[in-house]
Symmetry: C2
Subunit: 432 residues, 2 copies
């Protein structure tokens, strides 16, 4: 029985999980692969968190990616600079590659995909999007007979935990964030999560695959959840909605929208009931209809589960002399068959919370501005009366064009009766 050798770069949380799975399920994995699947080298900077045979350890990651005995490199060190150099060197040396590094693929994927396609090596990155959920595999293979109409995903567990907690406890963003940090659900520097950057990384990977063209990361519109207030969550509930940070890709008339922002979705929508640190992806295809996948989007073993699934698939391909799947990677930039729609031109429903002085004629002024910009109001709530202070006027609009809304908001915020900047949250999922 042939042996397939794996070189592990990094043995932190996920790397230790991978080592554990190799130790716990050796026969299971060997039987699936049809060969002996072994970890041959582990490149680490400090001692790994799980017992690893000392003979396997090395500090020289570059030696591992050049080791002629190694068939598959598993990159789990994170970051984009060193990781990129190692991945490209691994591919240049004909190694197949597995990575969970979403930032790397979202920012430098084109180079890596092209290198892999050119060297005809396999590239597995199931673990880079939504941890344990086999979403890459599903989009790449299961939905191949579809034109993907839309993807809407809760792809960041930290923000979903924060928004769920805010919804359940009516606490403010800052206090829930502090609690999440104390529990280890949020990083000390939470910017990448709460600012939407991490969700955008995953959207870049998923949408590039689904739409068959590499999307530049900088072309994704990104808005975080920092500005969401407890009062907005409460109004959303009252209106029958939940607020989620959604990663959205939509195809309409040959144009593609890619955006990450807080979004109100009806509470009956399947995504609305995905709470806590769970991730979920909702996909509509022209033949499959609506599909949803949910599960743990992060964590040691869920992520390791996907890393090992990729290793097993690639190892199986090696044993049976199958060439790589790399020809299916998005190796050319989006643009030839589908172009990106600028954010100004998307259409959406909108939730507006206008903070206005409680004076006669305010509503008429605000609705007048909206009307001038082709925005019609679907429903309205005005609560509380306080002649001395600003009170919220909450509105849900019908579908409107983003550019119109931006111009209307500028005018509304400039009205003398407006006490603070108007809160605006996009609304999706009403039609599903």
């Amino acid at each position: 029985m042939r042996t397939i050798n794996v070189g592990l770069l990094g043995c932190g949380t996920v790397g230790s999980g991978v080592v554990k799975l190799f130790q716990e399920h050796p026969d299971l994995l060997d039987r699936r692969v049809g060969a002996k699947l072994r970890i041959r080298k582990v490149a680490v900077r400090s001692a790994p968190r799980v017992p690893v045979d000392a003979k396997l350890l090395t500090k020289e990651a570059m030696e591992v990616v050049r080791d002629p005995q190694i068939d598959i490199i598993v990159e789990l060190i994170g970051g984009t600079d060193v990781a990129k150099a190692l991945c490209l060197e691994a591919v240049a040396n004909g190694k197949h590659l597995v990575t969970a590094n979403k930032a790397l693929l979202a920012e430098h994927g084109l180079e890596i995909y092209r290198a892999a396609a050119e060297k005809r090596v396999d590239l597995g990155f199931e673990a880079s999007v939504c941890g344990a959920i086999p979403i890459i595999r599903s989009v790449k293979e299961g939905l191949v007979a579809n034109r993907i109409l839309s993807i809407m995903g809760i792809v960041n567990g930290t923000t979903n935990y924060i928004l769920t907690k805010m919804t359940e406890s009516s606490q403010a963003f800052a206090s829930v964030l502090a609690e999440a940090q104390a529990k280890g659900y949020a990083e000390a520097d939470p910017t990448l999560d709460v600012g939407g950057g991490d969700a955008a990384h995953k959207l870049q990977i998923l949408a590039s695959l689904a739409y068959g063209g590499y999307i530049r990361f900088s072309d994704i519109y990104i808005e975080g959840i920092q500005k969401i207030e407890a009062v907005d969550i409460a109004f959303a509930r009252e209106l029958g909605y939940r607020i989620k940070l959604l990663a959205i890709a939509k195809q309409e008339q040959g144009e593609l929208e890619v955006r990450v922002h807080p979004t109100m979705i009806p509470e009956a929508h399947l995504l609305a009931s995905v709470g806590g640190v769970y991730n979920a992806v909702h996909i509509r295809g022209d033949s499959c209809g609506s599909l949803m996948f949910s599960g743990r989007g992060a964590g040691q073993m869920p992520t390791a589960s996907s890393v090992v699934a990729d290793i097993v698939e690639i190892a199986h391909n090696i044993v049976f002399h199958r060439p790589s799947h790399a020809s299916l990677l998005p190796t050319s930039a989006v643009g030839s068959e589908i172009t990106l729609r600028p954010m100004e031109r998307i259409t959406s429903g909108y939730y507006l919370r206008v903070m206005a002085m409680d004076k006669p004629g305010v509503l008429s002024k605000v609705s007048g501005v909206l009307g001038e910009h082709n925005i019609s109001i679907a429903s309205m709530i005005q609560k509380g009366r306080d002649e001395a202070a600003a009170v919220p006027i909450v509105m849900l609009t019908h579908q409107a064009v983003e550019g119109d809304m931006r111009r209307a908001l500028q005018k509304i915020n400039a009205l003398d009766v407006i006490a603070q900047e108007t809160m605006c949250i996009r609304v999706e999922g009403v039609e599903d």
Copy 2:
């Protein structure tokens, strides 16, 4: 560019959908496959429902499966006798095979899997379980690094539609069934759906794959939804539960349970919010944690979407000279590493609706019998007072052994205060 030829057996609802996808997406499919993918022959007994080049049509299905120019046979005629003969003949002739025929695989799969493994041909059956949901692919590849702890699925759209309607409208089973038949959601003879047989077919396929051993269809415990009354749905709601027909496979201590029956699940469980004709599968694995997949489980295009995904994958393998995946099929009977747990020995929570004469001491008698059989009551509702007629006493039990429950029910039903047979529904999902 090479051509891969497909022979279609049957061109009814799903077959017409497959033809449509070939007509609508020719370039998309060719690009994915890396070859020209063409329908070469269509075996039909009567005129197909979509326009098909008359030169492709034939009434001789057996000629199609023997045609040396055809690479992939797609069996969509349904039924088990003729379909089985055709599938085995196709495999014997070295053809790769795609089928959506769940009854065929659940009842004769072992023979077909073994033939495919021996002839080293690929076998695709994504469409046989849950229509558009890529669940076969996910279990076979995505979760390979897991021991699957449990599978719980809403895998029959007809029964889910009926139970959802009963829950929303408080109507009786018979009237909702009649309505479903009028709308085309239920067959004229609904036995296979409402009796649980169809769900059991899908469970057989999914569990055999997940647990790596072929499960005999006759070893699956099957109970339909015919006995569920509106009053039980109402009590379930009051207790915070929904009633769903679940297909369940669970692994515990080296033993496997496989069963299909109406099941109460907490309303907060992800499966509880899967309504109407939607299907969903909830999987727990030792490393991936809880995952859920939901989507359209039937219908022309959702099913065709999965059939074509299988065709594309197999065609891609042919183009790149990849050998088959058939080595991963459950070609030996369950039993060596995991044995089936008899129904008598499963444990479950139970909902009981005891219909008793409203006399002093009734509750003590009933609870006495339960206590004698090691069954403890978690909660109880007794409603209405009517000295002349039977009134319901509703109980939820803690985890109990099925055999104990069966013996207790026999004794309870024999009590002189009991007016009709006690309704018993298993409860799952409380721990998730």
